[in-house]
């Protein structure tokens, strides 16, 4: 087992404790609006909040080959500006010559500014495991929360920003795989449910804003997850080949749902089932 930075197990124990406590309070679940109930029960004690501080500390820490912090990372509003940056992502970055979502941008800065390489644990681990919180998740939580309460305003000035959105729309409606699903099968209609899980409808701005609000503490998984993780999860459920983290393909989907959320409120870290 890899050695854990000291604050992390404590964080997890706390989070699990809180979740259990909340489950106990929530009591037996009814068929209707379970998610809503869970959310309102937990509204004052979202364990995801615990990721913010830790993420900020990591953001400010001098790390990597070059031993610098991420405080000079440009999220589109200039080096070091994090307030409101997430609200305008995904966006085109001239240095990378591509449209990037928040997570891809963080990894970009970890490589170019801090000198991390693909093999380094710090960026190789994109999703948290039972043994270790992924740095990217902590960092994304910190940066995204600097836009909490603002509205989604993804950029659409550059042709590639518009193209990423259009590609996402095309792909969202593409039926494929051994289950014949498109994303719209589950997320293109009002009031659909899979088992007890309510499905967001891409045509409803408020629902799309909730759906675009990542990172989020996932109650069922007991940890914070990101947009890339959610997307890969839906791909897996659709029985499709494994989605590559941070690919242009993944960014197209994220662009599309973020554009659908335009004007809706950013609520990160969200609390999801």
């Amino acid at each position: 087992m890899p050695s854990l930075p000291s604050s992390r197990p404590i964080l997890r124990v706390l989070a699990i404790g809180l979740t259990l406590a909340c489950w106990a309070v929530a009591g037996p679940v009814a068929a209707q609006d379970v998610v809503g109930d869970q959310r309102s029960m937990l509204i004052d004690i979202n364990p995801g909040e615990l990721w913010i501080q830790r993420g900020e500390a990591l953001f400010r820490e001098r790390r990597g080959l070059k031993n610098v912090s991420l405080e000079r990372c440009d999220f589109g509003l200039g080096p070091g500006v994090v307030a409101g940056a997430f609200a305008q992502m995904p966006r085109y970055f001239a240095d990378a010559r591509r449209v990037m979502d928040l997570e891809s941008r963080i990894v970009w800065c970890m490589k170019t500014l801090q000198g991390f390489a693909d093999e380094d644990e710090a960026i190789r681990l994109r999703h948290s495991t039972a043994d270790r919180e992924a740095d990217v998740v902590l960092l994304a939580t910190y940066v995204a929360t600097q836009s909490t309460g603002m509205s989604f305003q993804p950029r659409q000035d550059h042709p590639l920003e518009r193209r990423a959105r259009d590609l996402g729309e095309y792909l969202f409606h593409r039926r494929m795989g051994p289950m014949d699903f498109s994303c719209a099968t589950c997320h293109g209609h009002p009031a659909r449910r899979v088992r007890l899980q309510s499905l967001f409808n891409i045509q409803d701005r408020e629902q799309a804003a909730r759906a675009a609000s990542w990172p989020a503490y996932r109650i069922g998984q007991g940890t914070v997850r990101t947009a890339q993780h959610r997307l890969a999860d839906c791909f897996w459920q659709m029985r499709l080949p494994e989605l590559q983290w941070g690919s242009d393909l993944s960014v197209a989907f994220i662009s599309y749902w973020t554009h659908a959320a335009r004007g809706g409120v950013i609520q990160v870290p969200d609390l999801k089932r």
Binding site: A31, P159, L160, R163, D166, L167, E169, Y170, L171, H173, R174, R175, M176, G177, P178, M179, D180, F181, S182, A184, T185, C186, G188, A191, R192, R193, V194, R195, L196, Q197, A232, F235, W236, Q237, R239, L240, P241, E242, L243, Q244, S247, D248, L249, S250, A252
Partner: protein, 223 residues
């Protein structure tokens, strides 16, 4: 020798399908349609692990290639004009390989298990091992069935009391068989997967699910 040739062919296949090798530069926005660009992203950009293993033993890439139903239904966003809908129905009918003679009902208990299970055919890091467990139909994801199971989805209509409502004639059995095998025989851009046609469920499994829906003893038909 033969083995070696196989090994080489396989290696070439792996290279050809390798996700890290994007085939050629990204399309230019000015000269490429969104559709063509989207297909490139899926099949050539390296955004998916197209060489991953699958339970059916064919390259994962084949899962991304659309058949006629998937193409047309994507194009019309599941609302095909009447002539396209008719053509899709006819095509599905042509491809339908009906069981000959009367269709038997299987065991509703096995059907109940299959209706609950969402296991099967998932690939990637968390790979479903069919040797450990058989794939299920996950009907509860979309349908209400037994009145005692509250965790049901709402994408499809409620099937509670289905057998009580429709009875159990050969005509009903044929319809239910067809719906599970390929619902597009009746509803061209159905949200329901074509379980039989894709080989997701076997014929025998379908008869178990039919029993779950139609057998008077099944919980689906109990109060």
């Amino acid at each position: 020798m033969k083995h070696r040739l196989h090994a080489i062919a396989f290696a070439c296949l792996l290279v050809a399908l390798s996700p890290s090798l994007a085939q050629g530069p990204a399309p230019r926005v000015e000269t490429t349609t969104v559709e063509a660009h989207g297909e490139w992203l899926l099949l050539e950009s390296g955004g998916l692990d197209l060489s991953g293993r699958t339970q059916e033993g064919r390259p994962a890439k084949l899962r991304m290639q659309q058949d006629e139903m998937q193409k047309q239904c994507s194009r019309y966003r599941d609302r095909p004009p009447p002539e396209v809908a008719q053509a899709l129905r006819e095509r599905a009918r042509r491809d339908m390989n009906h069981p000959s003679g009367d269709i038997p009902l299987g065991d509703w208990r096995k059907g109940a298990e299959l209706a609950r299970s969402g296991f099967g055919f998932r690939i990637g890091a968390q790979y479903d091992d069919h040797a450990a467990r058989e794939p299920g139909g996950n009907c509860y994801a979309c349908h209400a069935l037994s009145p005692r199971e509250l965790a049901y989805g709402s994408i499809g209509p409620s099937l509670t009391g289905y057998g009580t409502r429709l009875g159990d004639s050969q005509a009903v059995r044929r319809f239910v068989y067809e719906m599970i095998h390929d619902p597009t025989l009746h509803q061209p851009c159905s949200a329901m997967p074509r379980f039989g046609r894709h080989g997701f469920l076997t014929r025998e499994q379908i008869t178990h699910l039919m029993a779950y829906l139609l057998d008077p003893q099944s919980p689906v038909n109990q109060p």
